[in-house]
Every structure is written in C-alpha cells, then in structure tokens.
C-alpha cells in the first residue's frame, strides 16, 4: 500500500470537536479547513482553521449535512482528506462513498464497516454470528404494534424500545408496565422518524442494574487491531452520558481483559479500520452484552487519551495515510485515572430542561493535567439550534480519589457564567457517597435524585452573596460580552480601568 501524506484536511464538523481535530492538525503540521454557518460567525471553530469556508444558513441538511456541498468545498480547496468528527456525517456511508468517488480520503472506517455497524439490528446479527453475547430481544422486520407488544411480553418486562437507526438516547423508551407499552412505542417511533427519518424500532430485555462499559479500538489498514482499554460511562441523564472515566472503577482485571478482547474480536470480524468504540452493557453478575459499535471518534475519547497518553486523532490521521500501527498491544497501558464531565446548558433541577442565553464568562484553570474542550468563548450566544453541550472538562490524576478532588476544583475554575448549566449538579454527583464508593449504574441519576438536589441557601450564604455582589466589579462592559452593565455596584464606574 502506498503511504500518503496529507497536506490539508477539511474538518466536516463544528464546535468543540472541530477545534479538537484542528489542534492535532496543527501539531502535525497539516493545514485545516473549517466550516461555519451564518449563525456561527462568532463561534471559535469558525476561525480556528487555516482556511474558513462559509456554509450559508438554513437547515442542517443544507449546511453540515449537505454532502454535495462538502465534496465541492473539498475540491475547490484541494483538500486531501476529511475528518468528520462525531455526529453529523461521521457515520454516513453515503458521505464516505461520495468522498471516495471524488478521490478524497475519509479519516474513518470504510463505508462497509459503517453500514455493518450503523444499523443496530444489522450490527447485532453480525455479532451474533461471530459468537458475541447479546441482550435478549426482538430485532426483526415486523413492526406492527400488536406483534411488538407480544414480543415484549415474551421477553418479559421491563423492556427497552429503541429506534434502530438511533443514538444519543433519541427514540428510546423503557417500559415497565404493559399498560404503557403502546404509548411508549408511538413516542419512540415519532422521535426516531424526526431525528433519523426512520421509525423502525427494536425491543430488548431491560437489565435492572446495568453499567455502561465501552472499549476504544483502533485498527490500521494492515489488519492490526488494538484496544485502548475501557471507559465507564454509566452516569447518564436522558440516556446521554454526563460523567465518563477510565479505568472503570472497581473492575477486576480478568473482566477488563475479557471485555477488551471481545471488542478487538469484533473489529477484526468486520475488518475495521480507524478509531471505533464498542459499547457493552455489564450486568451485576459480570456477564456483558454487546450494545453497539460507534464507527467514529467518541465524545468522551479524551479520558482514554489521558490514561494511555495516545493522541487518538493523530492515530486516526496516520491510519488514514496508510501507516502501520507500529506497537504491540502490551505496550498500551492505562496509567492513573481520568474523569470527564460534560458541561451542558440545562437545568438539572428542572428535569434537565435545556437553557439558552449569552455565555458571559467561561473561565480558565491553571491546574496540571486539566483539559477543557469547548466550542464557545466569552460573549457567544447559546441558541436552540444545536445540542446544548457547552464543554467537556477532563482531568487526570494518579488515582480515582485524586481525580475526583481535582475535578471538583476544576469545575470551580470554569464558572460558565451567564446561563443555567449543570456545573453545580456535576459537583454534587462527584461529591456524593454512591459515586465515590462505586460502582455506578446507568440509573444513578434517577436512583439518587434525592441526594443530588440543590442545597438550600443558608442566611450566611445569602449574606455572602449579597455582600460579594456589592463589593465585586462587574466586567459587563468588556467588549466581548456585550451585556448591559447595571448602574449600581460600587466599582462599576471603574470597570473601564480594569483589565479583567
């Protein structure tokens, strides 16, 4: 195989992941092309690359999901390769095919692997044939409501209804009582149709105390398949992860080795290329079942980078250039402990309702081994147009206890002032006894709802807040924020003099 050397990469994504990918491009001396819509001019990703290309405005289908437009941009700007990030076109075989036809390399798996794993039903059939354990369920073609209801009763409640083409918790429902089944089915189909244009669902046994364990895999084009160990992503709300870590707390090494071996068995069985993530459900008795494989870089990949020292984007680029991964499995090690939290614009104390507003102050941390991946800067508007994830905050320390302590401080260093976020809620999770002790299950947020609520403000708290407000400078007049400065506050008249 001929080795290529990319000179210019288009990043077909936005926000924090676009910036993350472009950072590695910079490190590798590769030029990057970034994209932005009219609404995104102010966002950092719009100007992070060496070349910025406007996508205009309109629905996603006309901008980031417009394959024809993206291929044209690749040709106009003489791009060698495209990094799709996660979400958007990252798992669309049609995009992979269109790029191949135009002679442009996709930094990702071949379309065949995407197709095999992209459909949850098909991926399960493939794994079943390869002898990989699956959760009992119905993954068939018959989509009649009455028939699916019968299947659910046969599997035994509780069951999970999932959109076959889905991901990220959209089009997903748990049914505990027979009376709720048909409504839940209708809602799952409706969400599936809206989000993915496909309302086919599958039904599975619902495991009562599950842990979400996933394995990072990486394969080259020469038949070498590696894993970069596991991540624990059990803490979720609305079926989306909010706290992720590596290694999985309290996991016996035998189990770890077994899960990781199964993951590479899967990547081998489909001749996988590039970075992927194999997701499993781990039951309390130590049995684990294949859930799905994501054929792309994962949101939570930084915790793996922290403990293994690898730059997964660099490896993706090198694999796409045709390089042979020149190491042995035994040489990949997990060192210390890494935790990631996802900072969302949402109100955890009001059913995780997304919030919108102007981001006035992000903050910064000077702690060692703390990483913030964000797609926002001070003054940016957070709108309803995209997912409400503001940032990922990642820490690394020598063990889990130290990582928890470090994360609690890092969260203080990044206030994300100006709109309601889940920051304080994340602190409450990390401080809670069940989290510290572990293991954590996927229903953590629901189970510990009562101890995760906000603390009532005491009179001392209130007095401190009021006094601090009276004493603090408002930096609302800083040009980036654009917010109106309130006329009161003793130092507001001085704010022009201070370089805050």
């Amino acid at each position: 195989m001929k080795m290529k050397k990319f000179k210019r990469i288009l990043v077909a994504n936005r926000g924090e992941i676009a910036i993350r990918v472009m950072k590695t491009c910079r490190e590798m001396g590769i030029e990057s092309v970034c994209l932005y819509t009219d609404e995104e001019r102010e966002l950092p990703h719009a100007s992070y690359g060496d070349i910025s290309v406007a996508l205009g405005s309109g629905a996603l289908a006309d901008t980031y999901l417009n394959i024809e437009k993206l291929v044209k941009i690749c040709q106009d700007y003489k791009v060698d390769a495209v990094h799709p990030g996660y979400g958007l076109l990252s798992e669309r075989a049609a995009f992979a095919n269109a790029l191949e036809k135009a002679g442009i390399t996709l930094i990702g798996p071949p379309a065949t692997a995407m197709e095999a794993m992209g459909d949850k039903k098909r991926s399960k059939q493939i794994c079943e044939e390869a002898g990989i354990p699956l959760v009992p369920g119905y993954h068939g073609e018959n989509q009649e409501a009455d028939f699916l209801f019968e299947q659910a009763k046969k599997i035994g409640l509780p069951v999970l209804i999932k959109a076959s083409a889905g991901g990220g918790g959209k089009g997903m429902r748990i049914v505990e009582k027979e009376a709720d089944f048909l409504d839940a089915l209708a809602a799952a189909k409706r969400e599936g149709m809206n989000a993915f244009g496909d309302d086919i669902v599958l039904i599975e046994k619902f495991i009562v105390n599950p842990r979400h364990i996933e394995v990072q895999v990486m394969s080259d084009q020469h038949g070498n398949h590696f894993h970069f160990f596991e991540r624990e992503c059990s803490i979720q709300r609305r079926y989306q992860k909010i706290v992720e870590e590596s290694p999985a707390p309290g996991m016996e090494d035998d189990l770890r080795q077994a899960i990781c071996r199964v993951a590479t068995k899967i990547s081998k069985s489909i001749d996988y290329v590039g970075a992927g993530t194999v997701e499993f459900i781990l039951d309390e008795d130590g049995s684990f079942y294949f859930l799905e494989m994501n054929t792309r870089l994962q949101v939570e990949h930084p915790v793996t980078e922290m403990v293994t020292g690898a730059d997964l984007v660099r490896l993706q680029v090198e694999v796409a250039q045709g390089a042979k991964l020149n190491f042995k499995q035994e040489e990949i090690e997990q060192r210390g402990h890494s935790i990631e939290v996802r900072i969302y614009a949402e109100d955890p104390d009001n059913d995780f309702m997304p919030s919108i507003g102007k981001l006035l102050f992000v903050g910064e941390s000077h702690l060692n081994q703390v990483r913030l991946d964000t797609g926002y800067r001070n003054g940016n508007d957070v709108t309803v147009s995209f997912d409400p994830m503001l940032a990922k905050l990642i820490v690394h320390a020598e063990n889990r206890d130290h990582a928890i302590d470090k994360m609690l401080q890092a969260l203080k260093d990044y206030p994300f002032l100006g709109l309601t976020t889940n920051r304080d809620y994340l602190s409450r999770i990390l401080k809670s006894e069940p989290y510290k002790v572990g293991p954590t299950y996927t229903h953590f947020v629901k189970t510990y709802k009562d101890i995760l609520g906000p603390a009532e403000l005491t009179d001392l708290d209130k007095a401190q807040i009021l006094a601090a407000y009276q004493l603090s400078n408002s930096s609302a007049k800083s040009p980036a924020s654009g917010a109106e400065a309130p006329s009161e506050g003793p130092w507001s008249t001085l704010s022009g003099l201070r370089n805050t």
């Binding site: 959209k170 809602a187 409706r190 969400e191 809206n194 989000a195 609305r238 059913d351 309702m353 997304p354 919030s355 919108i356 006035l360 102050f361 903050g363 910064e364 000077h366 309803v384 997912d387 409400p388 969260l411 203080k412 260093d413 206030p415 994300f416 002032l417 100006g418 976020t421 920051r423 304080d424 602190s427 403000l457 009179d459 001392l460 209130k462 007095a463 401190q464 807040i465 009021l466 006094a467 601090a468 407000y469 009276q470 004493l471 603090s472 400078n473 408002s474 930096s475 609302a476 800083s478 924020s481 917010a483 109106e484 400065a485 309130p486 009161e488 506050g489 003793p490 805050t500």
Partner: protein
C-alpha cells in the same frame, strides 16, 4: 441603608453601609458581615473578596456572579419587576420549539403534574405539565405548530 436585591429571582432585604472606598458592612437577618476587597494574585482570574476573615474568589458579569465556584443571579428589584409577565394560570413554552402532541381538550379537568402537551425543543421531547389542578380554558396552539419561547401555550383556570 436598607436595600433590596433579587437573589436567584427571590427578593431579599438587607442593611448595607459603605466604609471607605473598598469596605462594606452588611446585615442580613441575623448575619452580620464585614467585607473588603483584596488584591487578587497576579494570575488569578477572579476578584478576591474578604468576608468575615474568609477570602472568596468572585467574578461578576452583569447580573451573574460566581463565588467560590457557585453561580448566582442577582438583579435589582426594579429591573426584575419590569421583566415580569404572564399570569399564574398560563402554561408557557420554556423555549422555542414545535408542538408534537396536545393531550387535553378545552374544558378538561386536569390534576397537578398531568401532561398537557408534548413539545420538541433542542431535539428532545418535553412534556408540559399542569402547574396546579384546574380546567383547561383555552389552547393556543395545534399539533405541528412552531412556537417561540415564553409564549402562553394554554390557559388553565384554577379549580374551584
């Protein structure tokens, strides 16, 4: 002097005196605090305020303030008054989105917490629930319609 501020939307009253250019005294209920500004460390992004002997790391931008990592919204009572809108009996859309499903009819008696309609916003479904028991007196939107944030979706009369 007496002063009123809204803390996270709730009005609080306190006594407040300025002592010199960078010191204050404050009394809230039974809590008395002496406070002063401290010069922050050179690389510190926060202002440092000493309250009753304790150093707090503070940053304020407009109505928003973070104190030792916790965020609050503080507004002058007057400014907040002018923003207030909407009666108690109205169910408002929390943000722009699309009405997916209307689950009640005009005239229906509903219980507190009962689902009234389903909205899609930020790609997720949200159920708008009754804030109190009552009778649905008007529904302003139909399934499939797009709505702005902060508009009345339906009116709920308080049950007798």
């Amino acid at each position: 002097m007496k002063k009123k501020l809204l803390l996270n939307g709730i009005q609080e009253e306190f006594l407040f005196e300025r002592k010199g250019s960078s010191e204050i005294e404050l009394k809230f209920n039974e809590v008395e605090l002496q406070g002063r500004q401290v010069l922050p460390g050179s690389s510190d992004q926060f202002d440092v305020i000493n309250l009753g002997g304790q150093n707090l790391r503070v940053k304020r931008v407009g109505d928003y303030i973070t104190i030792n990592g916790k965020n609050y919204k503080v507004e002058s009572a007057l400014a907040a008054l002018s923003k207030k809108s909407g009666g108690d009996g109205n169910m408002m859309s929390p943000m722009p989105g699309k009405i997916l499903k209307v689950m009640v009819n005009v005239g229906d008696e509903v219980e507190e917490g009962q689902g009234l309609l389903v909205m899609e916003a930020m790609k997720m479904e949200h159920t708008i629930k009754a804030a109190h028991p009552g009778v649905v007196s008007a529904i302003h939107y139909q399934e499939g319609q797009l709505v702005d944030g902060g508009v009345d979706l339906l009116d709920l009369d308080v049950a007798e």
